[in-house]
């Protein structure tokens, strides 16, 4: 090829004659950035993300989960009436003939639609994908408009709390695998509703009152009280009564305390809910993870679709990151997509993987540079007439499953090539020299020890594989 730099001017004039490409240069240079709240990830960040995702997938598969994929775009009607106050954050597409579309807001509602569409009765699946929220981005705190979610869900009718507990266990395993210290708050939607009823909250205000209480992890009681009484017009006596409940947290003791308060309620569903919560704690004990969990009556979670157990994991000793995983039981969501509301009960959890990345990224900056390059062998030469032979050698390495490259330039200097290998931490070089080539040989050089040995080309692959400790690929 002619030197591209020299040809650039000529090239440009030809191209602008032929196409309209360069006319719009002004438009394009204004577009040097990504949309608000969205990001590029370069090789180093992508590698960290890839490694974290691999650990998470390993954990999901340890639990026998399969994976599915649903579109990033859904019909608008699929998403409406599922997210409560958050619905205003849904990203809509332009109507381009026929369908009202939106970008998915989470992976849970699409999963429920998938279960209904595919008429599935039971499935344990994970899904990793991007979701979209037209939120006010706060990049420093890991809040974006486009971000990954990692979800694990179990759909099916079972008579134990084991699926619910397994979601907690997954959080436990992922956090442990990533060396993060965390705790999980647990609550139950039905208990929350009964507390509302007990305190005298009007039924129509159950959800909005809960969503105020849910802010207690970020706001003081006075602020929450103010929101409930002055903004949402809740009776002040009622708000005072709620205070007795929301600071309660612990394990079975909280359930015993509630059982006592509600002992005159002849509500069989409430009784079985209390028993469910005790079973859940028992299974967490059998999982040796009960030290990480606590019942927390202020936890409410905003999304409309939850019907049973709800939970949220927060990091300990990491200020400002907030919840890092959350989930719960949503027994009626699939039914909303089926005729006659034929329900498939579900429970699941979602990992806030972007927040995990931002924590790990901070930790990693303290450590030494990550090797980004996957190349194991670099084929180099000091002589420009060896170009074709370098190409033949690198081709042979690829044929044999060795990660390899050779400089693209015809006359790359040997010392520059060695320097490149050192920077990129490429362990081995094959040096192609005219003298050796005439004897069907090449030199293999260890970039770390600088040891060199001359081998016949026929023995080169075996020698390299031995040096790389690589079995047949």
């Amino acid at each position: 090829m002619t030197d591209l730099q020299n040809n650039q001017n000529e090239n440009k004039s030809n191209i602008s004659k032929m196409t309209s490409l360069n006319k719009e240069t002004n438009v394009s240079t204004n577009c040097l950035k990504t949309p608000k709240g969205m990001r590029d990830f370069g090789p180093a960040e992508s590698l960290i993300r890839k490694n974290v995702m691999k650990k998470i997938i390993t954990c999901f598969e340890r639990h026998g989960a399969t994976t599915i994929e649903t579109p990033v775009v859904e019909l608008m009607g699929t998403l409406t009436e599922k997210y409560g106050e958050d619905s205003k954050l849904i990203y809509e597409l332009k109507d381009q003939g026929g369908e009202m579309l939106a970008l998915r807001y989470d992976l849970t509602v699409p999963f429920a639609r998938f279960v209904a569409t595919s008429k599935i009765q039971f499935i344990k699946r994970y899904q990793i994908g991007r979701v979209y929220r037209r939120d006010n981005p706060a990049m420093a705190r890991g809040r974006f408009r486009e971000f990954y979610q990692c979800d694990f869900d179990i759909a099916g009718i079972y008579n134990t709390m084991l699926p619910d507990a397994e979601c907690l266990r997954i959080i436990h395993e992922v956090m442990s695998d990533l060396n993060l210290t965390y705790k999980i708050k647990i609550n139950h939607r039905y208990i929350l509703d009964k507390i509302m009823e007990f305190c005298g909250v009007p039924e129509s205000m159950f959800r909005t009152t809960c969503s105020s209480i849910d802010k207690l992890d970020k706001m003081t009681w006075d602020e929450v009280y103010n929101e409930m009484v002055n903004e949402k017009k809740l009776n002040s006596d009622v708000a005072e009564k709620i205070k007795n409940f929301v600071y309660k947290n612990g394990k079975e003791d909280v359930i015993f305390w509630l059982e006592n308060i509600f002992k005159d309620y002849k509500d069989t569903k409430l009784i079985s809910t209390f028993n469910d919560m005790k079973s859940l704690i028992q299974i967490c004990k059998d999982f040796s993870m009960d030290h990480c969990i606590s019942i927390d009556l202020s936890l409410a979670r905003g999304l409309d679709y939850y019907t049973g157990v709800i939970f949220e994991a927060v990091l300990v000793d990491t200020n400002g990151i907030g919840s890092i995983a959350g989930g719960g039981r949503y027994d009626n969501l699939v039914g909303m997509f089926t005729k006659k509301n034929k329900s498939v009960p579900c429970v699941g959890m979602s990992l806030g993987i972007e927040r995990i990345f931002s924590v790990l990224h901070k930790n990693m900056k303290k450590e030494k540079k990550l090797r980004q390059c996957t190349t194991e062998v670099c084929v180099v030469s000091g002589q420009s007439n060896m170009f074709s032979n370098r190409v033949k050698i690198v081709s042979k390495l690829w044929d044999n499953g060795i990660n390899a490259e050779t400089p693209y330039k015809r006359n790359k200097k040997l010392l520059d090539a060695f320097q490149y290998c050192e920077n990129e931490q490429i362990p081995l070089c094959v040096v192609v020299g005219e003298m050796e080539w005439n004897e069907n040989s090449v030199v293999i050089r260890n970039q770390f020890t600088r040891e060199q040995l001359t081998v016949k080309i026929d023995d080169m692959i075996d020698t390299l594989k031995n040096l790389l400790n690589k079995p047949n690929v």
Copy 2:
């Protein structure tokens, strides 16, 4: 937990009282489907896709490529004026305050924007991601509105055709790894333009005439001739002249033939282009893949951004699938995103992975059922009072990195559990029985041979790992 089926009615009335969830059931049940041209992938399909992608990534990394990620959404201005006649297929988002946004149309333009944004001088990267086209879907032929692309690109200034040839080599390796038979057509934009000039096509009609010629793989000469002369108003003599070129294909012989035709042109760029094409063929020979390539003067490729070599791979012996990979050199695209048009030359290729999936899917249907389940050990019991002990055992397996599950029901019958393992091809069971438990033992059962052995719980992990041939995880 109380039996969910029995509680469903009660549940429903409570929920509908509390939230507005069920009011909109009619909306949701109409939304049982995915948007037009988009699809769900269940566990079996996802597994095939995952395995294919793994092979492709292995190949990309064999060539020392890193990976990056860019947003699915780009500023509209980033995408305008890059795709020629295809621009009408870009998916736009609703203007929701401030930014005009669109879903990405390919991964090439976002890559060029990324290179410009990050001020990168050289990079070899791959990217796998979904792209969006408001095209008329033809699902049976593998044409969708949302689909994956797998791209491999090399950016940087080099004085050989090696980067261009490496793209062809990557196609070769992926096709070979997937046991597909293919051939690659190669052409060059500058040669095409000189042919247009030679035949007397007006400069303003170069691109649109090329895009007609490009249809020769799907249309007859008469249809293409008709489009050029009657629709696009090209002079009929000119069209006749073009015919002499477009059926020409071969190797160096085509270049020699062209050199002869253009021998009186004193165009140094054309001379160096011919030399480039001969170098490219030589490198393909050194790569032992020259039998798979041919220069084909009818190949044009529609996208505006190509400036040099262009290529397209088609499957041999698979009717109707069309091109399965394509790409080329685009030396000015990065420059469109930088001030003063500071260019970074690029060459790259994109794998039509959906078409590959649809071919592999057809082939695979002939073969036996794929194992979808990742579970290696199922913990079962014939007694319902062993539920808590099953939970303890499965927890121990997870702790030791063994893929395991236990039935969610308290009283799952032993034979049903064995049947489930057989269906899912789960190789091992741990049977928890009361008698063995009292002696700190469990039974390990091989589901294929039906052999059973009783082991102490302390020895269970080692025994299972030996049976699974699994080193310490």
